[in-house]
Every structure is written in structure tokens, then in C-alpha cells.
């Protein structure tokens, strides 16, 4: 569903990532790791069309990013749930409105009041915080709200960038459990994280493939983790 073919990206200087070929297959659970600054976020951004590779190709659901208009990308993005590294919200809207935002954007705002939304908030444990505003949330609550927003459109793929970046160990386990559960429901999950202990913890719960950015290339990490 997301394919990279000799994709490279450069912010202007040398290439940050080079010659990456990768196919994210349906239903799998991936980790993307590598030291800070390796280009994990950059790679993820290509996977949801926020960045277009400077060389090579990235295909979203069979469409080459280069041939897609902004509108095409916007529509493709509704099939990709993104949990952004710094969890951006609309701070003037309540949590529940933020979570329902993708519905409104897709012209389905009538569904925003439905039971799914309540169920979803309960599932991520934010029922009591539904009417709070994003600046009032803790790090873990923000991550869970971002996850709820990412999956409300029932996307095929969930891309999470450092979802456990600003939370304690317990909360990171809770978030991991949610992501593993989503994978069991058939969703493809890709988590970018430099946190190796999280990856080790996941291995007992799910069959995860670990990709590593090393020396600007992508490689499948072995048992050395």
C-alpha cells in the first residue's frame, strides 16, 4: 500500500536518505528505528505525502506522489492515520472536536456525534477529557488523542512518529498495547522510534519487522536488537 522505490531525500545539503526501496505490506507491524537525526521523520513524511522524494519514487495506494495533486494527496491521507511527532492539534477546539476533525474535513461531520466517537474516546481512555482543550492535556493524553484522531477515519495504515516520545514507561506500554490491538484488527502499523526498549517490549506481543536507517539506507534489523 505504501511503496518506496530508490527513494532519496535531501533538504538541500547532501542526501539525508538514499536509494531506499521498501514495500509496506498490508496487515504488518513495523518499527522504524535509527539514531536521532537519521531521517525517520523524513521517511514517514514521504509515506504520507508531506514530502516528495528528491529522487526515486514513493507510491501511495499505487499512485506515484509525483503525479498527485495536492487534492489527491489530501484524499489519500484520509486512508493514512498519522500520529505526528509533536501531536499538533487545533488548540481552540475541544479534544472531541479535534478527534472528529478528519470527519469534518472529509465532509462527514454528521457522523461526528455518533457512538463511534464516544467508543473511540473510551478505547483510548479519554472519555473524561473529551471536553478539555489540547493545552490542558498531559503528554500521554495528547498522544492518545492524536491516536484517536489518526484512526477515526478507519485508515488502512497507521504511521506513528515517536508516539512514546514524551511519556513515561507505563504510558508507553499502554500506547503500544493500543497499537498492537489495532494491528490485530487488521491495520498496518508503522512506528518510528529510537527507543529500543519499546521495540523489545513489543516483540513479545506482536510479530514485528524492525527496519533500521543505517548509513542513509534502510535495512532489516536482525536479532541483535
Amino acid at each position: 500500500m505504501i511503496e518506496l522505490e530508490n527513494a532519496a531525500y535531501s533538504y538541500g545539503g547532501g542526501e539525508l536518505i538514499s536509494d531506499m526501496t521498501l514495500s509496506i505490506s498490508s496487515g504488518s507491524f513495523y518499527f522504524l528505528t535509527g539514531p536521532s537525526g537519521a531521517g525517520k521523520t523524513t521517511l514517514l513524511k514521504m509515506c504520507y505525502g508531506a514530502l516528495v522524494p528528491t529522487a526515486g519514487h514513493v507510491r501511495l495506494f499505487g499512485q506515484d506522489l509525483r503525479d498527485m495533486t495536492r487534492d489527491d494527496i489530501a484524499i489519500a491521507r484520509r486512508r493514512v492515520g498519522v500520529v505526528h511527532q509533536d501531536c499538533q492539534f487545533l488548540d481552540h477546539l475541544s479534544v472531541v472536536d479535534n478527534v472528529a476533525l478528519p470527519l469534518s474535513v472529509a465532509g462527514q461531520s454528521g457522523l461526528a456525534d455518533n457512538a463511534n466517537l464516544k467508543e473511540l474516546l473510551a478505547w483510548v481512555g479519554l472519555s473524561k477529557r473529551a471536553n478539555a482543550y489540547p493545552p490542558e492535556l498531559s503528554g500521554g493524553e495528547r498522544q492518545r488523542a492524536a491516536l484517536a484522531r489518526a484512526i477515526i477515519m478507519s485508515p488502512d495504515v497507521i504511521l506513528a512518529d515517536e508516539p512514546t516520545g514524551n511519556v513515561d514507561w507505563e504510558m508507553s506500554q499502554r500506547l503500544l498495547k493500543l497499537l498492537v490491538e489495532l494491528n490485530r484488527m487488521g491495520k498496518t502499523v508503522l512506528i518510528a522510534s529510537h527507543d529500543l526498549s519499546l521495540i523489545r517490549a513489543a516483540k513479545s506481543q506482536v510479530q514485528a519487522r524492525v527496519l533500521r536507517i543505517y548509513n542513509r539506507r534502510i535495512q532489516l534489523a536482525g536479532a541483535d536488537l
Partner: protein, 301 residues
């Protein structure tokens, strides 16, 4: 056009969520309301001026069409001779298209409003009137007066509508200037609202990033801004229009004296034009904001 119409229907239909995706505060909102209000106020005056001067030009134009009149006041015995002499002079004057003696019945009709239907015209020392129609170029009134003085001493040339001719063209110009002012005001408003919209978009780059992250298309994001600006412009212009209309109402009525200063009040259906102002302001804001937003969003990719 189709897109614009779609936008307007959704503007009217409304979408609670969409309206709120852009944070409500910011100087751009105040700027838009104030600008629209001030501009609407000015448009009311430009309209008033334009309508009033057009009315004046019309009225004066009617008066002018009657052109000049020659009046002969002489004792009954002499009048025939004087009349013949006057006709002779007029028929040989360059610029006189035709000269017609106004019949007794017509004179009677003219006097009726003042004296009633039973004016004994033959008993009164009513002068003989000759209606002069001018050619396109008109005649030379001073030359004609000199000839009349020599040949028909009892005749008085009344061409007082003549001096109005430059005034009519001035009034017509003034009316046109009113409309030009309105066009300039609309242009200035559009420019100001465009700037305000661009500022609002720049200030909300973070909001735009979030909307894009969740799959918003440019038209969705633009609509969120457009609706806000159009609504602001409408309310601002409505207030400005009402204040402007009240100010015009407070001007003295034209009933007492006909003149450009006292005739500024709107008359009859002119008032309906005022209703167009806020609607038009909303449409201008809609178009200006939409164009600005789509342009900025294109640059922000």
C-alpha cells in the same frame, strides 16, 4: 463560476465544525469589519450624491428642452405689428429652429393652475409668448437681443434655462463621479480584505498544517477563512450602511428648496439600493478572500 456558486451555497448552508476550525480572534477580523463598515458608509454618500446629481441633471434637462421664450408685452393695438416683426427677426436668426406663437388655449392651460379654468385672457394684459426651439448649436442670445431691441422694442427674450447647460453637464459628471467613487471604494475594500486574509492565513500556518495532516483539501481550508471574512464584511457593511443612511436622513429634505445640497436624500426606490451594499460587501469579501486563500495555500505546499 460553478466553484464560486458552490462556495456560496455552502456559505449559506453553514457547517458548524468548519466554521470553527479557524481560531476566532485576531486583528484581521476587526480590520475586516471596520474596513467594510467605513467603506459602506462612504458608499452610501457616493450613492446619495450620484442619485441626487442625476436627478438634478434630469430636471434641468427637462427645463432646457423647452428652450427659450420670447415675450411681447404691448398694447393691444400694437401687438400684431410687434408679433410680425418678432417672427421676422426670429425666422432670420441663425440657430433658431422654429418659432411658434403659443395659442390662447395653450396659454390658458399654462395659467390654469394659478388662476383657475375661467381666466378671461382677453380681458387681461397677458403678453404674447413665442416658443423658440433652438438648433443643436443654439443661437447667439446677445446678438438676438440687440436685433430685437432695434426692431421689436416690446419683446423680451427669456433664455434663463440656457445658463443651466454647463450645470447639467456638471451634474451628469458628478453623478458619474459618484459611481467611479463607488468602484474605487469597492476596489480598495477588496484590496484591504485581501491583505487581511493573507495576514490571517500567515498567522494560522499551524492550523493549516494540522488541517492538511488530517487530509483537508485547499477548498476546505479556504472555505473556513472565506466564511469568516464574508460574515465579518457583511455585518460591518450592514452597520456602516445603516449609519450612513441615518446620516443622509438627517440632511434637510429637498421639499423646501431644490438644490444639490438639500436634495441628497434618497428618494423612492433609491432606498432599495442601500440593501445591496452589505450583500455586495459580503460577495466582494468572499471573492477576495477565496482568491487570496487559494493563492497562499498554493504557495504553502
Amino acid at each position: 463560476m460553478k466553484i464560486a456558486l458552490g462556495g456560496i451555497t455552502s456559505l449559506l448552508a453553514g457547517d458548524g465544525h468548519r466554521d470553527r476550525v479557524v481560531p476566532p480572534t485576531g486583528f484581521t477580523a476587526t480590520l475586516t469589519s471596520f474596513t467594510s463598515g467605513a467603506m459602506a458608509f462612504l458608499v452610501v454618500f457616493a450613492m446619495a450624491l450620484s442619485f441626487a446629481s442625476a436627478r438634478l441633471a434630469d430636471r434641468w434637462g427637462d427645463a432646457l428642452a423647452k428652450s427659450a421664450t420670447l415675450r411681447i408685452s404691448a398694447p393691444q393695438a400694437e401687438i400684431e405689428i410687434q408679433l410680425a416683426a418678432a417672427m421676422q427677426v426670429l425666422n432670420t436668426t441663425a440657430g433658431v429652429k422654429s418659432a411658434t406663437v403659443i395659442s390662447q388655449e395653450d396659454q390658458q392651460k399654462l395659467l390654469e393652475p394659478w388662476f383657475g379654468p375661467d381666466v378671461p385672457l382677453d380681458m387681461l394684459p397677458v403678453p404674447v409668448l413665442i416658443d423658440i426651439l433652438e438648433t443643436e448649436d443654439g443661437f447667439d442670445p446677445d446678438g438676438l437681443r440687440l436685433r430685437l431691441a432695434a426692431e421689436v422694442p416690446a419683446a423680451v427674450l427669456d433664455d434663463h434655462s440656457r445658463w443651466r447647460r454647463p450645470l447639467i453637464s456638471a451634474a451628469t459628471r458628478l453623478s458619474l463621479l459618484g459611481w467611479v467613487s463607488i468602484i474605487l471604494i469597492v476596489g480598495a475594500s477588496a484590496a484591504m480584505i485581501t491583505l487581511a486574509a493573507r495576514a490571517a492565513l500567515a498567522a494560522n500556518a499551524q492550523v493549516i498544517a494540522v488541517l492538511r495532516l488530517v487530509g483537508a483539501q485547499d477548498t476546505y481550508i479556504a472555505a473556513a477563512f472565506v466564511r469568516r471574512f464574508a460574515a465579518r464584511a457583511f455585518v460591518g457593511a450592514l452597520v456602516g450602511m445603516v449609519l450612513g443612511a441615518m446620516a443622509v436622513l438627517l440632511l434637510p429634505s429637498s421639499a423646501q428648496q431644490a438644490g444639490i445640497l438639500t436634495g441628497l436624500r434618497f428618494q423612492g426606490t433609491d432606498w432599495l439600493w442601500l440593501l445591496v451594499i452589505p450583500l455586495f460587501a459580503a460577495v466582494v469579501a468572499f471573492v477576495a478572500t477565496r482568491l487570496a486563500a487559494l493563492k497562499v495555500l498554493g504557495e504553502l505546499s
